[in-house]
Subunit: 199 residues, 2 copies
């Protein structure tokens, strides 16, 4: 049990450090220092940083599931649930302005490293995508629910990216408001696109 607990502490410390400093930059020594254990004890639990990354991704997937489940429980309508998603940008604005979105920045870094875990990290985007799609389906948008889900996910990623570059909280709030307005309008009219308009 004590051994499991140390392992958990290592994964939780790595989760934060990978987010704050990046995966490549974070060393075994950095993680060991945060956890307060010796190198020897550390290597007893993990031999390779890639193994820690796999567990960090699993931890993040579990935390994402918990959050999505909570939104499903606490928000009564699909529209309110979609607002919970957008609201997350405001709730996490301090961290987002400093370190970006934990999912997007990890995916981006692993893509450049051509890392075998990039698919695993992408699965967390997949969790959001599926959950958002379900909400759009519940709003009666069966045909374009997945496109709408990807559109909303992209907007949230764009807001996070520029928030990190410009450190502008007003921008985050204004964009979240635009998403809320877009969601209001969605309930009334189909999504606009040239092809659909032409057809």
């Amino acid at each position: 049990m004590a051994s499991d607990s140390t392992r958990d502490l290592i994964v939780r410390a790595a989760d934060e450090l990978f987010y704050q400093r990046g995966f490549e930059k974070t060393s075994f020594a950095d993680i060991a220092e945060v956890v307060g254990i010796s190198r020897g004890n550390f290597y007893h639990h993990f031999k390779a940083k890639d193994d820690i990354l796999s567990e960090v991704i699993t931890l993040r997937a579990c935390k994402t599931k918990e959050m999505l489940d909570m939104w499903t429980r606490n928000a009564k309508t699909p529209a309110d649930r979609l607002r919970c998603f957008a609201q997350m940008l405001i709730e996490n604005r301090k961290n987002i302005q400093r370190y970006g979105c934990p999912v997007g920045t990890l995916c981006s870094e692993l893509a450049k490293l051509d890392h075998p875990s990039q698919g695993g990290a992408g699965m967390i985007f997949g969790q959001f995508r599926s959950w958002l799609r379900e909400q759009f389906e519940a709003l009666g948008r069966g045909v374009d629910a997945d496109s709408l889900s990807m559109h909303l996910l992209a907007r949230s990623q764009g807001i996070a990216a520029l928030a990190t570059a410009f450190h502008d909280e007003t921008f985050i709030r204004r964009e979240v408001e635009l998403i809320d307005t877009w969601l209001d309008d969605l309930k009334q009219a189909p999504i606009k696109s040239r092809s659909r308009r032409a057809s």
Copy 2:
């Protein structure tokens, strides 16, 4: 002259490697290998990776200026110029799907490293922001030209982030089409927001 030329080759190679692998991951040896010079010759030109980064940022700023100037020259109306910006996502789709947006991913990495050049990298976003704002102003959107510029910049960043995670070209094309439709609508009606609607 020969010395200047080697220096340029180093900066151009570093530009590509920083984009493809990330700044932290790229070593002096990686750059020297691409350029095909000895370590000794390399150190004659650059003593620190941070110095190369500064020159890479300057190079990217110059290339960005050239591209924006070209769009200004080649596209006749502000709306067409804004479409050039969105079209860039389709033109660069292969690289974006593999490595993300060069500006966004560098800013994100430098933010996590808390690197002194993060402001410099952010200036490239600033170039796009100013240029986009000018186009929206020319469209008669003086009051909210900067908000519209940031909105469009954010959408492009979000598209790039998800394109890297999902490798989905159809998604890129669909989102660029939505931007085109949004630009069409903008010419006719003010941007929708709750606060403005309520006022």
